[in-house]
């Protein structure tokens, strides 16, 4: 059972970026402008600690979110997708004229009891 998944189109872009940059991580951003979107960085570029929750792995890339944000997200299932766009963050897909984005849905009952046991 996976809490975060990725569309084929987005997986293709992740593969391209891995070829160019090596090992990568996703970090879900919050806040204004280009926030509320997943960002992809070279592994090691961003300092992660126990306040960053590992939600899972997509296309061999760990997907993290900060703990305080996760508290509001943990009842939802995420799918990483990609669309044409132009962000102003440091996310590595931006020079391709693309932006990753998240589609969300509620966890099913089965998923919820698996991921968030009472």
């Amino acid at each position: 059972m996976k809490r975060v998944e990725i569309t084929d189109k987005a997986a293709e872009i992740v593969k391209q970026l891995k070829t160019k940059h090596g090992d990568l991580i996703f970090h879900q951003s919050g806040g204004c402008c280009d926030g509320s979107a997943p960002m992809i960085f070279e592994k090691g570029d961003m300092y992660l600690d126990e306040s960053d929750i590992l939600l899972g792995e997509v296309e061999g890339v760990n997907f993290y979110m900060n703990q305080d944000q996760f508290e509001y997200w943990k009842h939802t299932h995420l799918t990483v997708d990609v669309t044409e766009g132009r962000g102003a963050s440091f996310s590595l897909e931006i020079p391709l004229g693309l932006r990753f984005l998240i589609h969300s849905r509620l966890l099913t009952e089965e998923e919820a009891s698996f991921f968030n046991p009472k």
Partner: protein, 499 residues
Amino acid sequence: MSYSKPEFKDKYFNFINGKFVPPVGGDYFENTSPIDGSVIAKYPRSQKEDVENAVDAANAAKEAWGNTPAAERAKLLNEVADIIEANLEEFAVVETCDNGKPIRETLNADIPLAVDHWRYFAACIRAEEGSATELDQNTLSMNIKEPLGVIGQIIPWNFPLLMLSWKLPPALATGNCVVLKPAEQTPSSATLLMEKIADVFPPGVLNIIHGFGPEAGKPLASSSKIDKVAFTGETTTGQLIMQYASKNLNPVTMELGGKSPNIFFNSVMDEDDAFLDKAIEGAVLFAFNKGEVCTCPSRILVQEDIYDAFMERVVARTNAIVQDNPYDVNTQVGAQASNDQYEKIQSYFKIGKEEGAKVLTGGEANKLEGDLANGFYIKPTILEGHNKMRVFQEEIFGPVVCVTKFKDEAEALEIANDTMYGLGAGVWTRDAHQLYQIPRAIKAGRVWVNCYHAYPAHAPFGGYKKSGFGRENHLMMMSHYRQTKNMLISYDKNKLGFF
């Protein structure tokens, strides 16, 4: 009355050391207008080498600029203000074209406010003084303010010229040289400004670099040859910039967004008068600048005994919003700044509805016709729900507001402060006690009381919690761009007597 798309050149350059220079690598990116998807122009896709050239130019200029009299620096800032003001309409049309915001906003808010920020800091630097304290009869402690040196500034796309005008004047007034990177979605007004003011400052004092975050923004933020970074944007990039700055032990200031509560107590409906009308407009201000504002009042909290009557009027006022061609002076809400924002907002409609939020109005894209069919228009939207829903917690950055009700003051504060952010808040009441006590109890840097969305120079603006730190738009920002040189002077002729 309606304006139309302005003329642009085919491509533009960076502004480094007083000259327009092409990017070293020769690469450009295409910038488009969110109004209709049409091409504006090509802008430099700068790389590390371009950033280094700009940083070197700034370093070469910093000694002379830092020693330039405050009177002269202030004069140049005032010149910039006069030039923007003299070309106000031209700047407004370019800004509308690049960002998608309605022309009535750029004509009446963005550009006039930008002018005033330049003038405000020109005035501040003339008025402020250092300090001296006589510690004892023979010992004087003297504080002289010195510039940091070279500042890297990274600004967002929601108010391109205004954000530039929040950042540049305090840094330049205090004698720093700057390398600024505009957002890649909206490089046009910064470029127009450089064309108009190319000769105002000595070469190297002000440098503008265009390009993408990972390619140009990161080398700027991590450069060991700058002395400070100022950033407006989102939390993840904010954290990265702080990390890079920590390697150089550089100071930073951060403005990182919010999820601002706008609280309406029952006394607003005690009378059906001008104040109630103002309060209803205050709730509908979520749609200002299509919600692309860090302080967007994106959570409306209404006291339960007036909830139905109040929201009926808020919904009616929202439904009366004119969303059309941003070049038309009657248009109130324009196009979202880019396709990815447009898609993101719609993904929030989906999860909001799944979480059980009720759509009171809007809740979908607005398909306009003709030339505007390729633009990114979202209907002003009101979602009703509770504060634990994701749409209540995340910055959607669209013309989308979430509304919920509260019983009493304690519950209003509990909901208002139940957020990661603390940038802005609104409090609306006729109760004299609430006017003071509620704003004091809200954990946010700016609380608008019986008003909202005013951003005058001379009122400090900045965040609590994950909304960042630093206070812009006020003379206290100048301290974020300076060192304090303390001279401890002895006027005692006699030795200590230790050795």
